[in-house]
């Protein structure tokens, strides 16, 4: 609780740092914040081209909606997740100057990284509306409007909770051992392909499939597609366990981070 109170006292710093992260990402760039849209869009085009033109994997991609939409619906939350984590991995080391010269609750740095990622996420989510309307009008697929859309904030909250928890652990670990960043950049690639972001995960009951089923990102990404495009509530079992996992990760990550934080300045 005292941790939360302290963060609240430093909320101005949190906004300033998040705002700085957003600002410097698009400084000296012609397209500026448009990149928040262009990145997932171009990724969508790349994966659409690869899976439906370069190699014909359409039979494996039995996804109940136009593939570009499927890919975009996976890529937007995934990019949010991955960008936040990569912000977090570097946040302490990149701000060494602040960590060693100024006092503030260290949690502010990973939190600012997540907020900065969230801004991009909201922009990209806006484009989703345009994309949905487009495929609704042209694609032989019809969007089902449903009340389930009100569940979207909950899905986002669960994802953010998990992101903060993992992000804090990564930030702390990378401060002590820089290897973490290298491992992270490989691991996040693998994680993407087992999270039903651009290809559905196997459900054939094999060992691999069972392992993949424990991945909390599968129900979270699935929940985005359920509440936005399919107009249905997410499957409760997997989603609830992902939510519980997220809360545990947040509590564990935050506790470890806070305990180690008084050694950051001398170990960085």
């Amino acid at each position: 609780m005292s941790a939360l109170r302290e963060i609240w006292a430093y909320r101005e710093l949190l906004w300033s740092l998040a705002w700085r992260d957003v600002r410097i990402r698009y400084k000296q760039s012609l397209l500026g914040v448009a990149w928040a849209i262009l990145l997932p869009l171009s990724m969508m085009l790349v994966f659409t081209f690869v899976f439906t033109r370069a190699i014909d994997a359409r039979s494996a991609l039995n996804v109940n909606m136009p593939y570009p939409l499927y890919a975009y619906l996976g890529l937007v939350p995934w990019t949010f997740f991955a960008v936040c984590l990569s912000n977090c991995v570097n946040c302490l080391v990149a701000n060494r100057n602040l960590v060693t010269k100024v006092y503030f609750p260290r949690e502010v740095l990973p939190l600012a990284g997540v907020i900065a990622g969230f801004v991009d996420f909201l922009v990209a989510l806006g484009v989703l509306v345009v994309l949905t309307v487009y495929f609704h009008l042209t694609g032989g697929w019809s969007f089902t409007w449903s009340l389930s859309i009100v569940f979207l904030p909950v899905v986002i909250l669960v994802q953010v909770t998990m992101t903060i928890g993992i992000g804090m652990m990564l930030a702390m670990a990378n401060l002590f051992y820089r290897d973490v960043r290298q491992v992270f950049s490989v691991a996040i690639q693998l994680w993407m392909f087992i999270s039903a972001v651009v290809v559905p995960v196997p459900r054939d009951g094999s060992v691999v499939a069972q392992m993949i089923a424990t991945n909390p990102m599968v129900p979270i990404i699935g929940a985005y597609r359920d509440v936005i495009a399919h107009g249905r509530w997410p499957e409760s079992g997997p989603f609830l366990s992902a939510a519980a996992f997220a809360v545990l990760v947040l509590i564990g990550g935050w506790t470890l981070f806070r305990r180690a934080s008084f050694r950051f300045a001398e170990c960085i």
Binding site: W15, R259, E266
Partner: protein, 474 residues
């Protein structure tokens, strides 16, 4: 406002590990295990390896009353910055307790957290937030901050295009407008030009008048004294002195002088040239009687004798002697050529001496060097490092650079008091007595000091009273 301590530090120690943080994966796992199952302070205890650690601070205790200014001085590596970082919360002490009451802002590095790609204005908001200001507060003070730094025209330029002086001025200016209850300042006034530095000092005094508590780490003893009434002198992580800043400074200078006499520092200044024609055999400092001294008295005559060996004839040899204060800059440079004199340098063992009627410098450690030129070729024959040490004991000029003979002129008979009672501001009942303590020569206006005569009974006091030397034992 509450009275009492703004900062209280009791028995604080801090140890740093040397080398890499963890030696092996086994260490890492052990300490992670410890961190999971024990309290954090217990971990600090278990992971310390005394043979490979540095005791940065050892059992330091002090107290800063609300609204006071405390200076922290000491040589490099004394633990000053570590202390400041612990006060601000960046580091945590291994032992002891630190209590801080009030909103604290620490200026440990100017412009920490500046981002080169952001403009001056954006960085003011960011850095202000880092120092604990709210956006509304920053918006209100924006013009003032820009004006103080003298950067109004550059607010919309990214700071990566700033000069280092502009960068530093902006950084200090933001910090100077924080208005905290407690301000910690670490050796940051060395930036900027003289005028800016004065403005910074003035700003610190202004904050002090407004009730801010100040802790000021600096190497500039004069600057420290001009702001702080009390000072903490750290040496090797221990408290060497805690008390009135004037006394702390004189303690520090004495300690420095002692260390200097024991082992003169090897101050190579990189310009050491040597042609092989001249060897300096010795440089001796002598009283007029010829007795050698290692410690000279200020305002007394001094003779500097240089014995050198010339390996070939140099018909017109020029000698220059330089004296440099260890804590200041080059103070004296006498050159026989500039005085229109050359030495008829004949091969062999020669001597030359410089006689000064009065060594009018403040007390402290000094170093000398010797240069010799061939006036015809312009070639430098020798240019030694500043390797000849001389300690000067002054007569009360505790600070400043010079110690000149001087006289006071008063239009009424002055009251004579004990020096220490003035310096410490103590209410000494013996002080203030219209004293005939017998040590100060009082001359009733007898020398004709211009228009002082007609005003009335004039008194002139010469600061000529003999004092017990502090550093000189010879």
């Amino acid at each position: 406002m509450m009275t009492g301590s703004a900062i209280s530090v009791s028995n604080v120690s801090k140890r740093f590990r040397l080398g890499e943080t963890h030696d092996s994966l086994r260490d890492l796992l052990a300490s992670w295990g410890a961190r999971l199952f024990r309290r954090p302070d217990a971990v600090a205890q278990t992971t310390v390896d005394t043979s490979r650690s540095l005791q940065a601070l050892h059992d330091v205790t002090f107290d800063v009353p609300r609204g006071d200014a405390l200076g922290i001085i000491g040589p490099n590596g004394a633990g000053k910055s570590t202390m400041l970082k612990m006060l601000s919360g960046i580091l945590r002490p291994d032992e002891g307790r630190i209590m801080v009451h009030g909103r604290l802002a620490a200026l440990i590095e100017v412009g920490a957290g500046f981002h080169g790609d952001l403009t001056g204005r954006e960085n003011i908001f960011l850095n202000g937030a880092i120092l604990g200001m709210s956006r509304a507060e920053i918006r209100r003070k924006l013009d003032e901050i820009a004006a103080f730094a003298g950067l109004e025209r550059f607010l919309d330029t990214p700071v990566k295009r700033y000069s280092s002086g502009m960068y530093a001025r902006l950084g200090f200016s933001i910090a100077a407008h924080v208005d905290p209850d407690i301000l910690l300042v670490d050796e940051v006034l060395s930036v900027g030009d003289a005028v800016f530095r004065l403005r910074c000092l003035e700003r610190m005094r202004e904050l002090l008048r407004g009730g801010t508590t100040l802790v000021f780490v600096t190497h500039d003893l004069d600057q420290m004294q001009s702001v702080c009434e009390r000072a903490l002198l750290l040496e090797g992580g221990r408290t060497a002195f805690l008390g009135p800043s004037r006394d702390a400074v004189s303690w520090y200078l004495q300690a420095m002088t002692r260390a200097f006499v024991d082992r003169p520092p090897d101050l190579l200044d990189g310009k050491h040239r040597y042609s092989g024609t001249v060897d300096i055999l010795h440089v001796r400092f002598q009283e007029p009687s010829g007795r050698e001294v290692r410690c000279a008295r200020a305002n007394q005559p001094l003779q500097v004798e240089v014995r050198y060996c010339l390996h070939r004839d140099i018909p017109r040899l020029v000698i220059e002697l330089n004296m440099r204060a260890v804590v200041h800059q080059n103070l004296l440079s006498v050159n026989s050529g500039r005085d229109g004199l050359t030495i008829r340098g004949v091969k062999g063992d020669r001597r030359v001496a410089l006689s000064l009627p009065s060594l009018a410098v403040a007390g402290g450690p000094y170093v000398w060097n010797v240069r010799m030129w061939d006036a015809d070729s312009g070639r430098a024959e020798i240019d030694t490092p500043f390797q000849y040490p001389l300690v000067v004991d002054d007569e009360g000029c505790k600070t400043g650079v010079l110690c000149l003979p001087h006289q006071w002129l008063f239009d009424e008979r002055p009251t004579m008091v004990d020096e220490r009672s003035i310096l410490q501001g103590a209410a000494d009942p013996a002080a203030g007595r219209n004293g005939d303590r017998g040590t100060i020569a009082v001359a009733a206006g007898d020398e004709g000091h211009g228009d002082w005569d007609p005003v009335g009974p004039d008194y002139a006091l010469s600061a000529t009273r003999p004092r017990r030397p502090e550093h000189c034992s010879d």
